[in-house]
Subunit: 340 residues, 2 copies
Amino acid sequence: MPAQRPRGVSIQDVARAAGVSRQTVSNAINAPHKLRADTLERVTALIEEMGYRPDQSARSLRSGTRRVIAYTTPETDPDNPNALMSGFLEAMVAAAGEAGYRILLVRPRPGQSKARALEDVIAARTADAILLSDVLEDDPCVDYLHETGFPFAVFGRTRPGMPQAWVDVDSAQAMIDMVGLLTSHGHRRVAYLGTSAALPWLRHREAGFRIGMRRFGLVGHEAFVDGLDEVMAVTRDLLNRSPRPTALVLDDDWLAPGAYAAAQAEGLTVGVDLAVTGFNDMPYTRLLQPALTTVRLPLRRIADALVSRLLQSVEEGTPPEAGLLLAGDPVLRASMTTVA
Amino acid sequence: MPAQRPRGVSIQDVARAAGVSRQTVSNAINAPHKLRADTLERVTALIEEMGYRPDQSARSLRSGTRRVIAYTTPETDPDNPNALMSGFLEAMVAAAGEAGYRILLVRPRPGQSKARALEDVIAARTADAILLSDVLEDDPCVDYLHETGFPFAVFGRTRPGMPQAWVDVDSAQAMIDMVGLLTSHGHRRVAYLGTSAALPWLRHREAGFRIGMRRFGLVGHEAFVDGLDEVMAVTRDLLNRSPRPTALVLDDDWLAPGAYAAAQAEGLTVGVDLAVTGFNDMPYTRLLQPALTTVRLPLRRIADALVSRLLQSVEEGTPPEAGLLLAGDPVLRASMTTVA
DNA sequence: CTAGGTCCTGTGAACGTTCATATCATGCGC
DNA sequence: GCGCATGATATGAACGTTCACAGGACCTAG
């Protein structure tokens, strides 16, 4: 038998203690301007003293608002761990917190689809809005949320027919900028090592690289790996193509340790004979020797934008008109080199 | 003015449609055995068809149970990013989910103490239980939760006077085992590179290393670094002490990239001339060249144990009698060497 | 002194569920 | 056929809050 946990201080208790009505106490919290200064002070003092906080469930039931954002955590692939998630969540918790919202982590039960898990969240009125990340081009979750009209936002992008409630990094531009950065350091022969997974953001980076190469008139090759094991071999091969590259652009930081080792195996010293750049600014990139030049995602700005879009959808009932692209910040570290 | 979101299907709607009472619908969900087979079938079919889910707030308000575990996310120090958090959270979400609970992320508002944030959670009846991690020896949060008697559990350890509702990795034993592993690979001279931060788990690892060294009769030196910048210099110095070590034990994976570079600077090849071991099995350790031998934390078992302890506290009202130490799994990778 | 406004505060109802309990039907033994 | 137990379903109340509105105090102008 579950132990009966004593209920806490209720609004009625405070009202009685203060000699006012429930509504007055409620107003002290939700609409302080409606109270006379002395009453307000007396009531708030008592609220503080008695440790009263409105019961979240009761408040939600009555007002219909939960002050909760549900986030469906993406399944992490052990082969390509989403080390980003930690930082992204951190930023989201902070941004949501400042707006008075909390993040609830939701995961489909075993055998349950992600869309079904969202259906539960909506039907059980667990959250006011839903946050998605790592969505694919034709993600069924987006379609489902679009149909229901439930407020949501996406870290990533949604396709044209869908609500444009998304915020993303301008990966293509960041790559163009990275090529520009290499150009300004004298590089002319730049190779690209990518991941072959069919993820939209990887394709954006690839496209950006190509645009940058054309724009700055550089030459180079591209190669793609399918898993960790291939990194060494493919990178060594890439470094041996002619013209031999002076810089190696990676589409993700996770390729860096392998690339460093491949360079060393080829007798090249990263940061001296070869420049290497990454993408994402994962925590460990600063630990590498030499530290990796990469693109930092503006996680806090992304989170702020997502929260403001979510709140707009919740409060006004209309999703944002257009997506928002935020610039990535290139971080120059020791893996960059200058070519005479 | 906030748009009025239409309320969803209520228990009354289903009851009317099925021609039964509210209570019967409620029983179909919460106590199916109380219904006659045909009624149950009819009602559940209708529940499914109408997409009815009990309103979480109403249910919580009435029953007093939220099915939510609050987790106060530790502040991540940018200098020592807690890459572990991602994996731990993942495991917690999964473990809690299987028990029908969800994880709510809570963070103190700016200028608010962590204990105060917990007070809010408890007073507002936002969660049934609280999960803490990264607690220090005399963490005020633990004292506070102890006083209030609110159900909680800790990833880490609590000091003797406190409720022993904790689960932790037996870091000391893992270090002893690691020294044993090195011994079995023929190592006799082993150096220890630690982090000087005053964190309990680091001290457990250090103590374990010393016990292991004594037990296996090995010799070696210890050195500690205070920040990233010192790793190179301190490691090189350590490698030059006499007797020159054949293995280097790190107290955390994050030291590995620097240690690798230091070894290289000393003309040593990790995985050939020098064995290096880490702790935590962070995602990037597999990417290093050579891949790092390290200690994997049994995150899923930790999460399961934490959830079962939390539920015990919630349902029976009494915290567990004693803490639980789980063994870490040594992961043998290419950074290990064999000494003749 | 009173009408009419402006604040401020109080009261009943409602949100959707589950608890406690009542009612009803059914089956069984005698 | 009757009393009684058993199991299935229904009813009223309660959880703690906020909404909508009613009421009261106070002030000012006529």
